[in-house]
């Protein structure tokens, strides 16, 4: 048995120059966690500001810079890389039964590119900040915003290349490096979802990159692109931005869905119900997801016809998500269910994602969106999906694979309490925002009419509970590293290839190249 990847060198250098996908995953884990707490700290600050209707804690400018930083960091530097770059990086080769990704050096390069993008973005924030919102709408961003818009756009631009490189790596790896016998029909669902995600990344990210570059061109060179005074059209920018940023929401949710499929199956000890439908729905979401971007623009001045088409398609994209929800539920049927920490997160995901997704239907319905667009209703919708859904699944995944990653088990009691605390705090934070939105409180408001105060206080209270909930894993997971490495190869009795090697895995992942002769999630073959 060869050395475990954690012991293959203990110097900083051996980490920073490693080409081992497992070590690179740990590098991402560190970076992404830091970004999450930076984004979270910004949220804490502006939630405190919103305790009272007046502008008292921070100035209007500071508030605007805070939510921009929050949105940009959380989306581009936390949630998009979180599951793919951390769990995906660690697990994809293990699940496929190969030694590493197709291009290990490219993988390391992605991390450096990502960090460079992060440095530029944080640099822009420290230098004075940006107040455009994460959507960078023109002409505000090109002609009116002062601040370091170009620098922050450059940071996202650079990070975009990192996503593209990772996506490329994943697609090629999935095509070329599957273990003998591991046909497409036997792939774990997490791999399917990573594959679908990577396709979206490859085809969508360039458009965002160009849109941001055009803002840079207009700001720096004074060359008009969207300038309405010369006949340019700000709505065009919105088309380009959302062509990427709507599919980007599926970049954030698909890997989460993959994680949940793995967890639910393992803890129900049953193959995922309707495997082919769940795998196919990932592809359907990826494809349909590219056809609905205009639902962010119903009142932007796009044509009535475009509005109708995008609304119709938005309802259709909801169907494959429903397929997933129902199939997960059906997976529990006739299973042998255990409620360990990862399972609690996964069930939390299903509930909160369903609520978030179903409120997406209000937004997809034209008449209603005209009322709730750009209000807190939208904020609540996407936090339900992204925080209640994707972050829950990410934490669930971390807990699920933690024994594999570290070789240790963590205190399960703490894990369960944290999961429950997060679930409760989450709902208290964001449920009131649905009501606020329908009442008509617009988003991006540092001060608001007093009648909205009660609901805002509830929301801030919830956020502080949520913050504590998030701090818990940050404490007990590292603490578990002091325990002995006694997790064993397969503590949960799961079926994936990653569970058929030591925990933590050796540098080459497997002592002998595995071959697969069983179907996916075949618990009887175990």
């Amino acid at each position: 048995m060869s050395a475990c990847y954690l012991d293959a060198g203990r110097t900083l250098r051996s980490w920073l120059l490693s080409r081992d996908h497992k070590r690179i995953a740990i590098l991402y884990l560190a970076a992404v966690t830091a970004f999450f707490f930076i984004g979270g700290a910004a949220a804490v600050l502006f939630r405190l500001e919103l305790l009272t209707p007046e502008a008292d804690l921070v100035s209007a400018e500071a508030y605007n810079r805070l939510f921009t930083l929050h949105g940009v960091i959380m989306v581009f530097f936390f949630l998009i890389p979180s599951i793919p770059a951390v769990l995906g990086n660690f697990l994809l080769p293990l699940m496929l039964g190969c030694e590493d990704l197709a291009f290990p050096r490219l993988n390391l390069l992605s991390w450096y590119v990502f960090m460079a993008g992060g440095a530029l973005t944080l640099g822009a924030a420290v230098a004075g900040g940006v107040d455009t919102g994460w959507t960078f709408y023109t002409p505000y961003s090109t002609a009116y915003a002062n601040g370091y818009v170009t620098l922050m756009a450059a940071g996202i631009f650079v990070a975009g290349f990192s996503s593209i490189l990772t996506g490329l790596n994943f697609v090629v790896t999935t095509h070329r490096m599957r273990a003998p016998g591991l046909t497409w029909g036997r792939l774990p669902l997490f791999v399917w979802s990573l594959y679908a995600t990577s396709v979206i990344v490859l085809l969508g990210t360039p458009v965002l990159t160009i849109a941001l570059a055009l803002i840079g061109v207009e700001r720096v060179l004074g060359v008009p692109i969207f300038d309405p005074r010369l006949g340019g059209d700000p709505v065009l920018f919105q088309h380009l931005f959302w062509f990427y940023s709507h599919p980007a929401v599926y970049i954030m949710i698909l890997p989460a869905m993959g994680v949940v499929s793995e967890i639910v199956s393992t803890f129900a000890r049953r193959p995922v119900f309707g495997y082919r439908f769940v795998a196919g729905s990932s592809l359907a979401i990826a494809a349909l997801g590219f056809l609905v971007w205009g639902h962010h623009m119903f009142v932007s001045g796009q044509s009535e016809f475009a509005g109708l088409v995008f609304s119709l398609l938005s309802f259709l994209v909801a169907v494959p998500s429903g397929v997933k929800v129902f199939n997960w539920t059906a997976t529990l049927w006739r299973g042998r269910i255990r409620l360990d920490t990862p399972m609690l997160y996964a069930l939390g995901f299903i509930g909160l994602f369903t609520v978030g997704g179903l409120t997406g239907l209000f937004l997809a319905a034209l008449g209603v969106d005209v009322h709730v667009h750009d209000t807190y209703f939208v904020i609540a919708h996407f936090h339900y999906i992204m925080v209640g859904g994707a972050v829950m699944a990410y934490l669930g995944g971390i807990h699920f694979w933690w024994p594999k990653i570290s070789g240790r088990s963590y205190p399960d009691g703490f894990g369960r309490w944290a999961a429950v605390l997060i679930f409760a705090g989450f709902n208290l934070t964001f449920f009131p925002q649905f009501l606020l939105g329908y009442l008509g409180m617009p988003r991006r408001y540092h001060a608001y009419p007093p009648e909205y105060q009660v609901l805002n206080v509830l929301s801030t209270a919830g956020a502080s509970i949520l913050g504590v909930g998030y701090l818990l894993p940050l404490l007990y997971l590292p603490w578990s590293l002091r325990r002995p490495r006694d997790a064993g190869e397969n503590p949960w009795g799961a079926t994936g290839l990653e569970w058929r090697t030591a925990s933590p895995p050796p540098v080459e992942n497997f002592d002998a190249p595995p071959a697969v002769i069983w179907e996916a999630y075949d618990y009887d073959a175990l």
Partner: protein, 99 residues
């Protein structure tokens, strides 16, 4: 090799044709259609013969097809907005403004 040369000649012929057509001052829709058709033909030649897409693996064809499909979606999705905006909606010149 012969096939390559033939392709090249065909490409140059198409080029000459479009340039000539541009000189012919066709009505804009016709000119647009002609220019785009010629470009599409050239693209097909380069893709199929120079880039050997005609003989390559399904995964490669899939990648090429996906990218073109996606570009078509982007174009159609964005342009249908412009095609169906009411007459007065295209960005207008900065004319009279109330205060």
């Amino acid at each position: 090799m012969k096939a390559l040369l033939g392709t090249w000649l065909a490409l140059l012929a198409l080029l000459a044709l479009t340039v000539a057509l541009a000189g012919a001052r066709l009505a804009p829709p016709a000119a647009l259609a002609a220019a785009l058709a010629a470009a599409a033909a050239k693209t097909a030649l380069v893709l199929l013969i120079f880039m050997e897409l005609g003989r390559s693996r399904w995964a490669q064809r899939l990648a090429a097809a996906a990218s073109f499909l996606m570009m078509a979606i982007l174009l159609l999705g964005a342009l249908d907005d412009y095609w169906t905006r009411p007459e007065d909606a295209p960005p207008r010149a900065p004319a009279e403004r109330v205060p």
